[in-house]
Amino acid sequence: MIPNPIIFAPLLGAALLLFAWSCYRRLSLVACGAQDDRLSNPVGRVRAALQFAFGQKKVLSRPFGVNHAVIFWAFLALAVANGDFLLHGAFPGISLSLLPPAMYGALAFVFDLASLFALLAVGSAVVRRIVSPPFAGARTGEAFVILGMIALLMLVFFGMHGAEIALGTETASGYMPVSRYLAVMLSAFTPADLHTIIVISWWIHAVVLLAFMNYLPYSKHMHILTAIPNCFFRNLNQSNTQPREEFIEGKRFGVGSVDEFTWKDLLDSVSCTECGRCQTVCPAALTGKSLNPRQVVHDIKTNLFRNAKQLKNGKGPLLPLIGDAAEGTSSEETLWSCTTCGACMEACPVLIEQMPKIVKMRRHLVEMEASFPVELINLFENIEGRSNPWGIAPSERSKWCSTLEVKPFEAGKTEYLFYVGCAGAFDSRQKQVTVALAAILDAAGVSWGILGRDEMCCGDSLRRLGNEFAFDRLARENVQMLKERGVTKILTHCPHCFSTLKNDYLQYGLELEVIHHTELINQLMKDGKLKLNREVTELGTVLYHDSCYLGRHNDVYQAPREVIATVTGQPAAEFTRNLNSSFCCGAGGGRMWLEEQSGTRINRERAREALGAQPDTICVSCPYCMTMFGDALKDEGATEVKVKDIAEVVAEGLR
């Protein structure tokens, strides 16, 4: 039943042209972004698209995700139905109904059920948004308009097919249980009325479909078009490893205007559908800071669109990217609030890279404007001048072992370079961890040595804070030294050193085995090399906290848990938010060196969560977490709870 191809064909043509033009307008803006190679490893990319887009892997990781997955899969099926609908409307000679009856019947069956499921899913999405929205502010008119349009499409689909079946003109009526059920209800109508129902349904379907299509490029529902490519173009490297910058004169550094983002950053911004999952896991957003990762991405998109005219004309953007102007700009305070914990990226169903964008904008602030919280001047100068955050003389680096017998690293003779790290060498609390680890290594007969006063800072804080220039110098020096000294295996007990040496230095051509002490201890115990003298029971309930840079950024989750279970004889107690959903201690991303002035303190939020599990000991595997928990427990008046590094827990068993 085709109402009128003479009217519809030009309408379809016009709608398709308009849609193509809108997509071009939007995507040509995305193309204004800087270069970024996202084509390497096509197999991995196809896998990512299959897993995350078609498989809806992250979408399904949350309870309500199944609702979206149903809509997504229904849309895939209905894309065929709607393609057929539009083509048939303009060219009546083309139709799926001309296929062999069994084949057409099977398709009709799928379309009929998909429409029902989509309708149910849309209905529950509407209810959810009213009753318990995913985040405050999610009850937008736009969301309801879109849901309403989808629901309407499904309803008229049934109206159309139900009436056709009632009229007896639907050849696949036997395969359409839902439409047939409706047909029974419509059977009271006269053929003329049924015909009217079909025509009205058809036109509503046609108009809503074309309107929906043309609305997409201008709404957050652009993700329907961009999410699949966005997953394909994902970052296949370690997510927290920011790209290197080339320091050539005349270049601009970092991202200070929207066209300095890469095209992938801009594609990210138009792929965000504002589901809000990132903001419900962001430690800054959850403790009342101005940072909200969803808003940062949204502001980038807004900035891009508002500056469209200037960018098309090859001029600089008018609306600033960083500043205090309302929509479309991120404030400096927002950018400095990020702990680079990566929870946002872990949560994002379409693999948007929120955190690296923040670091890129920090780079602009530090490198081009020298504008940053005043606390950082000392940090930068201390690391640049004395290669440690506190500005302590490098000659003090091996003081922690002044009463021990520790050998310097010698290529060929020593197996592991124990990279003590700044905290391990200078922080009085962390020095106890260093000593504990040294005792463990000796007890297990590991061949290890240190660089002593020649060890330098790895530069983690510099890089996360956007001081790439200083990081670059430090990284070059470190890589050169590690190569010259013939180091092949590095042991660290700081996840920040660990991640930097392992992932970031890869960009500088340093490929060696970097191992975190949780992994080495676990391995030594499994191999029977490290034998404990007793089971450690006096620490009571041991609650393990996943460090972001060990867990989320490097996937080390099981080793520390196995160690705790072996040493204490019982599995570690767990936080509610644990493993890849772990909640940052608040010190990553250089936040260790910054005052936390707005909102509540992140470490206290995490400490309160810990106290809920009633631990006797909180076990950490990172010097920053150690400091943050120590401080927070004092603030919470819970000093009876001990904070211990995993090395200290193990060392207890050697006594």
Binding site: E249, F253, V366, A370, R386, G391, S395
Partner: protein, 270 residues
């Protein structure tokens, strides 16, 4: 109008050790930094540049490697930099140093009138605080030391008003220009260089003047012109410290011990 900032490249003294045998400074591998007070002097002149559009010049006397300090000054935004370097200047005390610096300042003032000379209050290696005043006296400049705030600067009336930070009190002083001021840390928060400025400074040539340029009597410069010499450097003997209690297992107890000790020595009043 020119504002000249005198800076010195010094060894990072927190990293300097005294050789117990020879009683000399062990400088091997010790990095050099700009004397920290001089960093505040640079910052203050940059702020004057921002406010009044003054031409800022960094001036230093030292070995050729002192270029690094001047490059840092350029990276921070100084307009130009002059290094006074000659073997004949070596071994100088504050008397001959101020002689060389004053001569260079006079030379610099020929093409652009001098408004202000800014120095750090003292260096962290010599700790004499004499070079700034020495320059002021030689050039007949108003001498304003220990400044923690420039209250006002009026180039039409040729007046400067500053606040001096003295022990336990402040002093507001007004003087005529040109003046020499020495600054304390509290005067400002130094800035951090941008990367383009750093890269540009790295390439910019530093003007180097030797004694052929300054034409000073060799009896008034370097070792010969220095009546002061250092006969010995040593670390003062210090009484050994003492561990009070076991702070780790009994923090309250050790705090009590500490309080008792402080009270006993009359360092706390109950």
């Amino acid at each position: 109008m020119r504002v000249i900032t005198c800076i010195k490249q010094v060894p990072d003294t927190t990293q300097v050790k005294i050789d117990p045998v020879t009683n000399t400074l062990v400088r091997d591998g010790i990095p050099f930094i700009i004397n920290p007070y001089d960093v505040h002097a640079i910052e203050e002149s940059l702020r004057l540049k921002d406010r009044f559009g003054l031409h800022t010049t960094a001036l230093s006397m030292g070995p050729p490697n002192a270029e690094a300090a001047l490059k840092r000054a350029l990276a921070l935004g100084m307009d130009d930099a002059v290094l006074l370097s000659d073997r004949a200047f070596g071994g100088a005390d504050t008397l001959s140093t101020s002689n060389v610096l004053a001569t260079a300042i006079k030379k610099l003032s020929q093409d652009r009138p001098l408004g202000l000379v800014i120095c750090g209050k003292q260096t962290i290696d010599g700790d004499t605080a004499q070079v700034g005043p020495g320059i002021a006296v030689r050039l007949g400049l108003s001498q304003l030391t220990l400044v923690d705030r420039i209250e006002s600067l009026d180039f039409l009336a040729n007046r400067i008003r500053v606040r001096r930070k003295l022990e336990g009190r402040y002093e507001i002083v007004e003087a005529r220009l040109p003046a020499m001021i020495t600054v304390v840390r509290e005067i400002n928060q130094p800035r951090y260089p941008t990367v383009p400025m750093r890269m540009q400074a790295g390439k910019s040539p530093i003007t180097v003047w030797d004694n052929e340029t300054l034409k000073l009597d060799t009896n008034t410069i370097g070792l010969k012109g220095s009546p002061t010499w250092v006969s010995k450097i040593f670390s003062p003997e210090r009484d050994k410290g003492e561990m009070l209690g076991d702070g780790l297992s009994d923090p309250v107890g050790s705090t009590r011990l500490l309080m008792e000790r402080l009270l006993a020595h009359d360092l706390l009043t109950a």
